[in-house]
Symmetry: C2
Subunit: 283 residues, 2 copies
């Protein structure tokens, strides 16, 4: 039997992956959540038809969304993770002994439940005592906090689905207020290639630059995302991501990573000319 999962990257482009079987499928009040088993990518988490992560390439996304800010500020103690119910970002954050507490705010408990059961590779770490999970709306959750977190990561990939509120200007302003003086925020800057996605990238960038004094985008190669490319936004109250960074200090921690290293830390902020132009146009 042949069973293929396809994701439309645009109405004219699709990526298809042969799957062995569907392990989980549930339509919640927020979204549809599916998990597939596949030969090429291992287990695949799909939300509303879009690949969120696969066991085979999730290390790229999760290492780059966490180690970049942690290298810039290795003194981070309190982290807020908005989204990220699969646990991949938590797993990477827990590599730092200096982190006391990770608050994970996930709107949909079904994501956590499904990943705990079927994707322990990322979700097993969610039982760690340094992690607290809140099933809540990130936008509301952040309103209550002030000068509290050293790092906020928006691990939420879809600005048109359940995560839409997370991308409003109010949300970014609240994140700024919730961060400590050395605070860093990382958000989704989307895929810069397809014309149908560029507006989302520009919107994310514009909102971040409206709230933070230092904003730089950085890029990753991730095979299962549209065009194989994804941008994160690095926003900070005082640290520039490549000038105010002690790369030797990060290397001295001797953490095991498979994508991230301090050379690619710097290299990831070097963007193609067409991406720089598109971001500048949004500032």
């Amino acid at each position: 039997m042949e069973l293929w999962f396809s994701e439309q990257h645009t109405p004219n482009v699709r990526l298809s992956i042969k799957v062995d079987r569907q392990l989980f499928s549930e339509t919640t009040e927020f979204q549809r959540v599916d998990i597939f088993e596949s030969t090429e990518f291992g287990r695949i988490l799909v939300i509303d038809g879009r690949i969120m992560m696969t066991e085979r390439d999730e290390f790229i996304y999760h290492e780059m969304i966490t180690h970049v800010p942690l290298c810039v500020n290795p003194d981070v103690r309190r982290v807020l993770l908005v989204g990220g119910g699969d646990g991949g970002s938590v797993r990477e954050l827990l590599k730092y002994d200096t982190i006391d507490k990770i608050d994970l705010v996930e709107v949909d408990e079904a994501v956590v439940r499904a990943c705990r059961k079927f994707i322990p590779k990322t979700a097993a770490c969610l039982d760690n005592p340094r992690v607290e999970i809140f099933f809540a709306d990130g936008l509301k959750f952040i309103r209550r906090k002030e000068n509290f977190y050293d790092l906020i990561i928006v691990d939420y990939t879809d600005p048109l689905g359940a995560g839409e509120g997370l991308f409003t200007r109010e949300f970014y302003g609240n994140c700024f207020a919730a961060l400590t003086v050395g605070g860093i925020m990382v958000n989704q800057h989307e895929n810069p290639f397809y014309s149908s996605d560029i507006a989302a990238m520009q919107r994310a960038h514009k909102r971040l630059t409206a709230s933070f004094p230092i904003v730089r985008a950085y890029q990753i190669h991730i095979p299962t995302y549209p065009a194989g490319q994804w941008l994160f936004g690095f926003a900070s109250k005082k640290f520039h991501p490549t000038r105010d960074v002690d790369l030797a200090r990060w290397n001295s921690l001797a953490l095991q990573t498979n994508y991230y290293n301090t050379r690619i830390h710097v290299g990831a902020f070097a963007l193609p000319t067409y991406v720089m132009k598109t971001l500048s146009a949004a500032e």
Copy 2:
């Protein structure tokens, strides 16, 4: 009507692009050559079922295969291009007034003929008087040359098709001999992600390191290639690609590019840890 072109990136992964129509199709003694018209990617050149270039993203490949070596050695006068019958690399090379002569050795005249007719965006430049086209086998052509070219670019993407001979150790040794003392060679280092492609990447790297004292791989994001990622190998007799380079000089040329810039020149050589490990294992 719906007409979809699909390329299998592995037996379990395929990328599909909706096409309007097929403009060209010919099976030559070397390979099958097709050109499609599409909404998302413009015209698409396909050889043996694999996408060689599309009008929409070819700038990424062609800028990065040419401007990287030209930035390192802006005194290049004679260039040998093996493959590259679509003309995209030639177009970029012709931006340098310092280049006197480009020899293009393409094994299959059908590629040049089809691109001249259907993809003038890249092929129109092939009529430039600084360009000479040889319909010949690159492996044999290079045997006759010694201390002649300042730059050799292997613009040939498939180590298993008609280009197989180009990847042999003899070929690299002959290229070394054909290069001047400051000579640079750029080759295909393939896609580093899928396990089915890693052997080809390691073979390309091994052969280059066996022939040249300085070899470094660099990466590009290209949406229509497997995993959205591609590596080039930079090999040189004396220039290190990021240490022996005058970035300000390249910027002073004020060339128009859409992907390449001097920050990404450096950034592209910063490879993910898993890619570095795989390359090191082949050295």
